[in-house]
């Protein structure tokens, strides 16, 4: 995985984080978006499928991607691989959002290059903080 070098971290603090949320469930997208926006005041981009997500990531270049695991057609891991294979998106940290919590999978995901794994249901009040902590952002919001 790639990590932003230290000076970029500091720079980041000054800018509002922009997060791309990829999840096929409308409700969850909404709640997550609302959580990040209302609670943390971040920018949020939405994508309802892996394919759409890759496109948006490529064009919008978000600071991080929140990726659902269980999606039809292209699932989380596949999307992840594709993001990492794509030169324009491979640098963006990806956090998996999943309801399944199995140990060996975690390892697999880590090897695939995921930055962090967050669990559903998440606490909407702390979601932003969790993301910041996972990505090593100091007080990101």
């Amino acid at each position: 995985m790639e990590r932003l070098p230290a000076f970029e971290n500091h720079a980041r603090i000054l800018m509002t984080p922009r997060i791309l949320i990829i999840d096929d469930e409308d409700d969850i997208r909404q709640v997550a978006a609302m959580s990040l926006e209302t609670v943390a005041g971040w920018d949020v981009l939405l994508a309802s499928s892996g394919k759409q997500g890759i496109e948006r990531a490529s064009t919008e270049q978000p600071d991080a991607i929140l990726l659902d695991v269980m999606m039809p057609e292209m699932d989380g891991p596949t999307t992840l691989l594709k993001l990492k294979a794509n030169g324009s998106t491979s640098h963006i940290p990806v956090l998996l959002l999943t309801a399944k919590v199995q140990g060996p999978d975690q390892k697999k995901f880590a090897e695939m290059g995921v930055a962090a794994i967050l669990f559903k249901p998440f606490d909407p009040l702390t979601l932003a903080r969790q993301i910041s902590a996972a990505l090593g952002w100091k007080d990101g919001g």
């Binding site: 995985m1 919590v101 290059g113 249901p121 998440f122 606490d123 909407p124 009040l125």
Partner: protein, 1148 residues
């Protein structure tokens, strides 16, 4: 002259007479003259008269002489008779005085004549009382006593006088008497006694002529003895001896002969011929034998059979020969021997032999019994034989029958088949009741014989039978029938009864055998139909029995498996994989004496594996292990089910979680108030909704957790941990909650090192603390204490709350059990917390329980045992599910599609999952993106040289640590660079076995999670590094101090050390020194990560095993990771420098 002398007086007289007469004459003549004539005549007459007188007297004298001479002669004769006589001659007078005692008497009696005559009496010559005795004897024989005068006879001789006078003189009779010699010895003598009479005829004495009978007696005795001997022989001979005239008339028959034929000697003499003595059926035979003998043939051992007076049949062996005189037969000698007993014995033996042969040759009683009946029937000469057996319901049933084939008794046989006889009925019943043989001479006469009708049809006349016994019980009856009327033959029945004992034993044994067969069949059918696989082994662990299920599960034939050890059969097919270690469950299971059970993976013939649950039970007889039984069951289904369940559970939980996310999220956002104010009531409701959705989430988590733990899908990973640390962490985590509830958390404990799964244990501690806090009143304390015991550690959480009722102390650990339903719900518990705690503690092999405190509140205690290495391994090994499911993926990179396909196939067959790459590029890409455990790289790739690919792989962080097995087309590679980069290399043509072996070897190295100890006091840096390594799957322990570092070195034995030089309580140098002194540590790979560059001397001081030096400022954390990974890749102890590093300074 004597004559003359004797007659001298006469002669003189004569002479004188003569002279006178002459003178006278002359005178006359002269004187007369005239009358011559008258004178002359007168003188002549006178002369004549004188002469006559002279002559007369002369004659007289002569006569007298003659008489005297005669007398003398007689006396002489008498004397010479006496002298010369052999017998002794004694004469006594009536007084007994001895008058004559001849020389023979002298010799015999030892006396001299002069000693005896006139001195001894007759009685002196006999022993005391002998004379009397014999005298009495003699008199007693007399018919009458003679009328004589015995006055003058001595008393002793009276009898004798009587004796001799009782018969005429001419008839002298002898008698025996004992005589006594002078020396007092005695001898028998034969005495002829006669009377001595005088001229008047009066008895004057006795004359005895006696001979010494000693020799005679001896001879007689001898003769008698020898006669006796012969007579004795003949008379007492067992053998029958007869002599016959050439006309076949009996001349002599000895008693034995007489007894045999039951006739007296006289009867025999009256028989017309030899053969007349024999029964009619034998006569012809006997006659021919006689004729042959008569002709001069010597007959030896001819067989004859007779019936004696008792009706018993006797077998005889006859020898006949003829005595001839000058070619003419004089007599025929017959000697018969009774060989009945011998014959019976032989017959019995023959029958027993026949029966034994039958028993020996036949295996089933169906064959054997009729065969036995046949042999008995033929042997005994009967027409029909039958066997009845006594069944358990106390009836007699027909079991088998035989009849002579040419004379069938089908009707009778058929009649017998249907019959069921009670005790006492019919011949078998009778024999059974009486328990002894029975003979029916005429079947038609016996009213109890139910089968008389059919017997008549088949012409059977006589029947008999014997019981067949086993022990004291009659188990069967054998019967025989004959068309000829036969008289009862007790002997034959007795013989057959004895032989039938063998039959009885056979029947008993075959009954047992058939029972055994029955049992065996049952056992076999059970074992064959059982779905579990069953092996029976001998004491050496070699298979002796395989049931069909086992054979089919292992994909082999039973005969392939027998003789091999179980372990080799079930684990052998792990071709290429590592050999089973000593810890292999299945291997060990056969070494212990107690039964063991467990789970393992077995391999089929074709290499495919399947999970099993097995159990081994040793078979012990008399304290000796004679073998064991292994039963196993394919639990793939179960695993499949488990997997299905897991999938179900996780799917369901996922499905539940998804809407919950939205609910929770929405509610949560609403409750922040950021989206608008709402009334108090609304807020309240919202709060309720939020709490409950939280609770729902927790519930789902707990259920999932519990399910996973209980199904073994969440295995424990043991690590040596300090319980004090864990407790402190738990307390830290629960401090917010405690503060909110105004409860104080206390830790009363010291360090306690133990091997546990720290995460899980944390879960338990947190849970217990949470409960404690929930149920504690404000202002109270919750104390955590740790107590070290001999075999483990006890952790206690004590609260001062309401406490738990005694009857609920056990049940609260069950699912969804609350002490008080209302209470817990309020407190937001899920009801699963304690159940989860119990599962975790039990998985550790410990115990958890609750106690009521004496004063107030409860104490929850858990005991965790100190786990031994062995048990740990077994515990780890006993959960193959996890290892089963995550299969190893291997990337095969080969340009040649056929080679690639075949490699992939081999790998798949051995349980690997395979990714394929047709070029080096593709391989690198795949390796970067997909996690593979190993790469098989063909060096003969034209498009991309093999080692370029290798470089690429090693350069990329993601792929650097993946073990690569290189396949080379050329000989052994001499390229040192490739050697270093590749983990293993194989030559082509490729041997599957060696490829798999190499693969497993590199994977083995890979699989073991490497442990790295990071000694770093900078917490932030430590965190970063830790996070880095976590992704790489390396266990990293962090020690902020030297002391901690030492502790961890000892307790958790890292594979590599990352060392900061500057430490608060010492420095890296000190640590390295100490490590160098530890036996196991002095070769530890070391990465010195120092803030400043180190000089040569300092570096030397810090050398352990393979040591690298990195300066913090120059190097990124990920570089550390790369280096460490590459160092970990190489087996410990080797001192190779990894590719790209020259050891002095890093270069990127």
């Amino acid at each position: 002259m004597t004559w003359l002398r004797d007659r001298l007086p006469s002669t003189i007289f004569f002479a004188v007479a003569l002279l006178l007469s002459a003178y006278g004459g002359m005178v006359l003549l002269l004187g007369w003259g005239g009358t011559f004539s008258a004178a002359v005549i007168t003188w002549a007459c006178a002369q004549v008269l004188l002469i006559a007188l002279c002559v007369h007297s002369f004659l007289d004298a002569s006569r007298q002489d003659e008489a005297e001479w005669q007398v003398q002669q007689v006396a002489q004769l008498q004397r010479s008779i006496l002298d010369s006589a052999g017998p002794m001659i004694l004469a006594t007078d009536l007084e007994g005085n001895l008058l004559i005692f001849n020389p023979a008497a002298e010799r015999m009696l030892g006396y001299r004549n002069h000693e005896v005559l006139g001195q001894l009496n007759a009685h002196d010559l006999f022993p005391e009382g002998e004379l009397e005795r014999v005298g009495q004897l003699l008199v007693s024989r007399l018919d009458r006593s003679p009328a004589i005068d015995l006055e003058s006879v001595s008393p002793e001789l009276k009898h004798y006088v009587q004796y001799v006078t009782s018969f005429p003189v001419s008839r002298v009779r002898g008698f025996e008497i004992l005589c006594r010699r002078k020396d007092a010895t005695t001898f028998p003598a034969m005495v002829y006694l006669s009377a001595v009479r005088n001229t008047e005829g009066a008895l004057t004495g006795l004359l005895a002529i006696a001979t010494d009978l000693t020799a005679t007696k001896r001879a007689e005795h001898a003769l008698r003895e020898s006669e006796e001997r012969y007579r004795d022989l003949f008379e007492n001979s067992q053998e029958m001896i007869a002599t016959l005239s050439p006309r076949a008339k009996y001349l002599y028959v000895n008693p034995a002969w007489q007894t045999c034929f039951g006739k007296s000697a006289a009867a025999f003499e009256s028989l017309i011929s030899f053969e007349a003595a024999f029964p009619p059926e034998m006569q012809a035979n006997a006659a021919s034998l006689f004729d042959r003998a008569l002709r001069g043939e010597r007959i030896d051992r001819a067989n004859l059979r007779v019936q004696d007076s008792n009706g018993m049949y006797r077998e005889l062996e006859a020898s006949l020969s003829c005595r001839q005189d000058r070619g003419e037969p004089v007599s025929v000698r017959c000697i018969f021997r009774d060989v009945t007993a011998q014959y019976q014995r032989e017959r019995r033996l023959a029958m027993q032999l026949a029966v034994s042969q039958v028993v020996g040759e036949s295996t089933t009683s169906d064959e054997a019994l009729p065969a036995m009946l046949e042999s008995l029937g033929t042997n005994l000469g009967f027409d029909m034989a039958g066997l009845w057996f006594v069944s358990s319901d106390h009836h007699c049933r027909y079991l088998a029958g035989w009849y002579a084939p040419d004379r069938a008794c089908t009707e009778f046989h058929r009649d017998s088949i249907g019959r069921v006889l009670q005790k006492g009925k019919d011949l078998p019943g009778q024999i059974w009741a009486a328990e002894s043989p029975c003979w029916i001479e005429d079947l038609q006469d016996d009213s109890n014989f139910l089968r008389a009708g059919s017997a008549k049809t088949d012409g059977l006349v006589t029947g008999w039978g014997v019981p067949v016994r086993v022990g004291n019980q009659v188990i069967a009856v054998v019967e025989f029938f004959s068309r000829q009327k036969q008289r009862e033959d007790t002997e034959m029945m007795a013989t057959v009864e004895t032989v039938c004992a063998s039959i009885g034993q056979f029947m008993a044994r075959s009954a047992q055998e058939s029972r055994l067969e029955e049992l065996n069949r049952q056992k076999e059918s059970i074992l064959n139909s059982v779905a579990d696989g069953i092996f029976g082994t001998d004491s050496a662990g070699r298979i002796v029995f395989v049931n069909p299920a086992a054979a089919s599960m292992l994909g082999a034939h039973a005969f392939d498996l027998i003789g091999r050890t179980v372990h080799s059969v079930v684990h052998e097919e792990r071709k290429g994989r590592e050999k089973c270690s000593d810890q292999c469950r299945t291997g060990r299971a056969f070494l212990v004496r107690e039964g063991t059970s467990g789970q393992d993976v077995f391999y089929r013939r074709n290499g495919a594996s399947f999970p099993v649950e097995f159990s081994v039970t040793p078979m012990v007889e008399h304290n000796v292990a004679v073998g064991s039984v292994l039963s196993f069951r394919d639990i793939s289904q179960r695993y499949a089910l488990d997997r299905m369940k897991d999938e179900f559970v996780s799917t369901v939980s996922h499905e539940l979680r998804t809407p919950l996310t939205s609910i929770r999220g929405s509610l949560g956002l609403l409750s922040t108030g950021l989206l608008g104010e709402m009334g108090e009531k609304a807020s309240n409701l919202l709060r309720i909704a939020v709490n409950n959705s939280d609770r729902l989430v927790r519930l789902i988590n707990d259920i999932l957790d519990l399910e996973r733990m209980q199904s073994g899908r969440a295995p424990l990973t043991y690590r040596s941990c300090d319980l004090e640390d864990l407790a402190r962490q738990a307390i830290d985590a629960m401090t917010p909650m405690a503060e909110a509830a105004k409860v104080q958390l206390l830790l009363e404990a010291g360090p306690a090192q133990i091997e546990v799964d720290p995460d899980r244990l944390q879960q338990v501690l947190t849970n217990l603390l949470s409960n404690a806090i929930k149920f504690s009143p404000a202002g109270s304390q919750v104390a955590v204490s740790i107590e070290r015991l001999l075999d483990g550690v006890t952790i206690s959480v004590k609260d001062n709350g309401r406490g738990i009722p005694k009857d609920k102390l056990e049940s609260i650990f069950d699912r969804f059990q609350q002490v008080d339903a209302s209470d817990a719900r309020q407190k937001g518990g899920t009801g699963l917390g304690l159940a989860i705690c119990r599962t975790i503690v039990m998985q550790h092999g410990g115990r958890i329980w609750a106690e009521r405190n004496a004063d107030r509140g409860s104490t929850f205690r858990m005991f965790l045992p100190s786990v031994t290495r062995e048990a740990e391994i077994l515990r780890l090994g006993g959960n193959p599910a996890s290892s089963m499911v995550s299969s190893t993926s291997v990337l095969v990179c080969d340009e040649n599609p056929e080679t690639r396909a075949s490699l992939a196939e081999s790998l798949r067959q051995n349980g690997y999952s395979v990714l394929e790459a047709s070029s080096g590029d593709e391989a690198v890409v795949i390796a970067r993106q997909t996690p593979v455990q190993a790469i098989l790289l063909d060096m003969s790739l034209p498009s991309l040289h093999g080692w370029e690919t290798l470089h690429l792989l090693r350069d990329d962080l993601k792929t650097a640590s993946i073990p690569v097995v290189v396949l080379s087309a050329f000989g052994a590679l001499n390229d040192p660079e490739v050697e270093k980069a590749a983990d293993a290399w194989l030559e082509q043509p490729l041997e599957t076995g060696s490829m798999l072996a190499a693969l497993s070897r590199v994977l083995q190295v890979e699989r073991q999670p490497s442990r790295v100890l990071l000694v770093e006091d900078d917490a932030d840096l430590a965190k970063v590094i830790l996070a880095t390594f976590e992704r790489a799957g390396v266990q990293v322990h962090h020690a902020p101090t030297q002391r901690k570092a030492m502790e961890l070195c000892v307790s958790s034995r890292p594979d590599l050390l990352i060392l900061d030089i500057t430490l608060p309580d010492g420095d890296g140098f000190g640590l390295v020194d100490w490590l160098r002194q530890q036996q196991e540590m002095k070769q530890l790979p070391l990465v010195v990560y120092s803030a400043q560059d180190l000089n040569e001397g300092e570096r030397k001081k810090l050398q352990l095993g393979h040591t690298e030096f990195l300066t913090k400022a120059r190097v990124q954390p990920q570089d550390v990771e790369t280096l460490v990974m590459s160092m970990l890749r190489v087996p410990q102890g080797a001192n190779e420098v990894p590719l790209g590093w020259d050891g002095a300074s890093p270069s990127l």
